[in-house]
Assembly symmetry: C2
């Protein structure tokens, strides 16, 4: 039972091949720098690695190549049973994974206005594969779907209501596959009853946190777009809504320039002036670079502030989960955030934190809510969702 | 000991006259609709009210009229000993009230970029009075000053650092006079030791909340401008920073149009489509108007979310204070917010809430943190600050 999972972006296609009989990843890879002369395909598996240049960068060629290379390398013996696609924006239409049909494609197309960079690339990947392999069923799994359980009081912005009705202006939230998985995993590992309250912090290049009650998303930090909320690698997270006009008046920057700056030159990179990479920044901070220390302090303060805010969407708080590249690995970030959350009764076990958690991932001690480190498995979750639908 | 307190806006001048020997307000009034044919001056005192049309709307004429009318009505027997001015934006220059000098005026002028609507009007009022009554000392009291104690991790946005260095882009916070007063008053009334942690929620037409530790502001919801944070009468509070670009792309609205909408057509007015006035909305909600109910739900959810977030800036949480027109009067808003804060151990006493608090203003019960209703006294605080400086 082979399942291929595809995440197609505007200049890259990530893929993972799963053997669902054993629930293991057979291989994974990346086609990157698409559209440029340096376009290349990399494939990694248990005992090997393979790399080749790509001469044509259109999705059909790239995806054909991916399947061809997997076959050549003896990683794929039959065509995949189903292909699972990560789709960024499902708007208000999708609250669960779906088998791709013409109607589904039309709905994904309708969400392009909400994710103008991501949805077109996701669509192109699905359409190319549908044409190449019309007999393989395809499943779309949405980053926004898990958060469709938010109540109107949590998803509405305080702007004219017709902007919601006519333009779909509301909080959608992202990283849903990850939040859903790590929260469920935390509840299982910790033996928390169905009546749980869990906050998950997905900290990677993009960062978001989510309040989960009884398996349902109650509130989350990302909003209509993945720019709102926490401080991220290059994204600002929350700013004053008056900032755009201020920068227009003071510097003559139009809204496109400002939005671009908030997406690409802000966050940890903007504050530190050094890097968007947390490892680099921690190393610099350890060597005494002040602006790196400052960026880390802002990151942790804002993260703790949002966790405190999300907690009010819960009636009980059993656990806080850290996941994503930063959440799974950074002892410093976890320790600092938990220090800032003393008021909730969180208490860190330094020794457990130093080794990224005990057997269950737990890094806290004492009677307060637990803190647990859980590796996210977004691709495996997409594969499982895809398998479940056919 | 008469002290006059002036709050000059772009089309109005509010004023209060205090008798500091008895710490009482002798009279208060409003010159409004300045610059229009309907410009008028209203004065109220213990046993009277007076109203007249204003033919000239320049600040010098209006302020001369105010003092003339107070004198005619036998409310003012000598010229005021000092005049206290509310000034909206003190930037990073002012962390306390100051006696107005040429240097102070220059610094207030430098903050105009940060408060283009308010600071010019505040300045005009000060300058007019300085020319009219060069012998009366004038004191400037800043809305931002109390929040100058925020640490960089709390006041920096995650945008390129040079925007802070060169343009002053940072969180400043507002309503400082009110937050400082009600937090101090709460600590005194409740007999909380110097080591206190208090959150104050100032809910009027503008709304903000503030975390106060040991008398110092640690974090607050308004930001670089008074548009960030909580849902307000006509202001949106937080939105996704990608909203401006989305509305530009979808509707062709430029940044000025969007900012104007976020300031004037959003908040409770935008959500309800009905009114920005909380009393009107509560009445409508009681009659079953759905959009009014929705607006109230969003207001309370967002307020609770921010209170939860602010709590993480404290190491202990002793009390939550409600103030401003809504905070002092709305049983419904207080009850709903406290319900949303169950996770912090707040517990409402319904009977105390129904009468806006016991003798001390307390409306909570049980062992958790206290909730207290305190009438804000911004004008009296400005008068006290002015008196203290001369
Ligand atoms: N040991 C570590 N300590 C601190 N940060 C780490 C560590 N390992 C990875 N990271 C950080 O994780 C981030 C990338 O997270 P990841 O989840 O892989 O990204 P993406 O969101 O693209 O999936 C980078 O900022 C990286 O520096
Ligand atoms: N009894 C009441 N119940 C609910 N809201 C009230 C009540 N009394 C006043 N308010 C509300 O208080 C708000 C005005 O607050 P106020 O502090 O006077 O404003 P400002 O910020 O202009 O000083 C209005 O929304 C008004 O409806």
């Amino acid at each position: 039972q082979n399942i291929l999972v595809i995440n197609s972006g505007s200049s890259s296609v990530k893929f993972s091949l799963f053997d669902m009989t054993h629930q293991t990843e057979t291989a994974s890879g990346l086609a990157e720098r698409l559209g440029s002369d340096a376009a290349a395909l990399t494939l990694r598996w248990a005992d090997g690695e393979y790399r080749q240049a790509l001469h044509d960068s259109d999705y059909a060629t790239v995806l054909t190549q991916i399947i061809a290379v997997l076959t050549e390398q003896q990683l794929l013996h039959h065509l995949p049973k189903v292909i699972g696609h990560r789709v960024v924006h499902g708007g208000e239409v999708f609250s669960d994974p779906v088998i791709v049909t013409d109607e589904v494609l039309a709905s994904i197309r309708q969400c392009i206005a909400l994710a103008p960079l991501h949805n077109p690339a996701n669509l192109a990947g699905i359409e190319a594969l549908a044409t190449l392999y019309p007999d393989i069923p395809q499943v779309a799994v949405f980053d926004t779907a898990f958060h469709q359980s938010l109540a109107p009081k949590a998803f509405l912005y305080a702007v004219p209501y017709k902007l919601y009705e006519q333009q779909g202006v509301r909080r959608y939230g992202f990283h849903g596959v990850s939040h859903q998985y790590v929260a469920a995993e935390a509840a299982t590992r910790l033996g928390i009853s169905a009546q749980h309250g869990i906050i998950s912090a997905h900290l990677g290049n993009g960062c978001s946190a989510c309040a989960v009650a009884n398996g349902q998303s109650m509130d989350t930090t990302m909003g209509m777009t993945p720019l709102e909320g926490l401080v991220m690698g290059t994204r600002s997270g929350d700013v004053d809504p008056g900032l755009h006009q201020f920068l227009y008046q003071q510097k003559g920057w139009d809204v496109e320039t400002v939005t671009n700056m908030l997406n690409k030159e802000s966050g940890m990179l903007g504050l530190s002036g050094l890097s968007n990479d947390m490892r680099t920044l921690e190393a610099a901070a350890n060597e005494g670079v002040e602006r790196a220390q400052l960026a880390l302090a802002v990151f942790c303060f804002r993260l703790a502030r949002h966790i405190g805010g999300l907690a009010t969407a819960l009636t009980r708080l059993d656990a806080l989960v850290f996941t994503g590249g930063i959440g799974e690995n950074s002892r410093f970030i976890r320790a600092t955030v938990i220090e800032n959350l003393a008021i909730f009764g969180f208490r860190l076990d330094n020794e457990l934190n130093a080794r990224n958690g005990d057997m269950l991932g737990v890094i806290s001690t004492g009677p307060g809510p637990k803190v647990v480190v859980i590796e996210t498995k977004e691709e495996l979750m997409i594969a499982r969702a895809a398998l479940a639908l056919i």
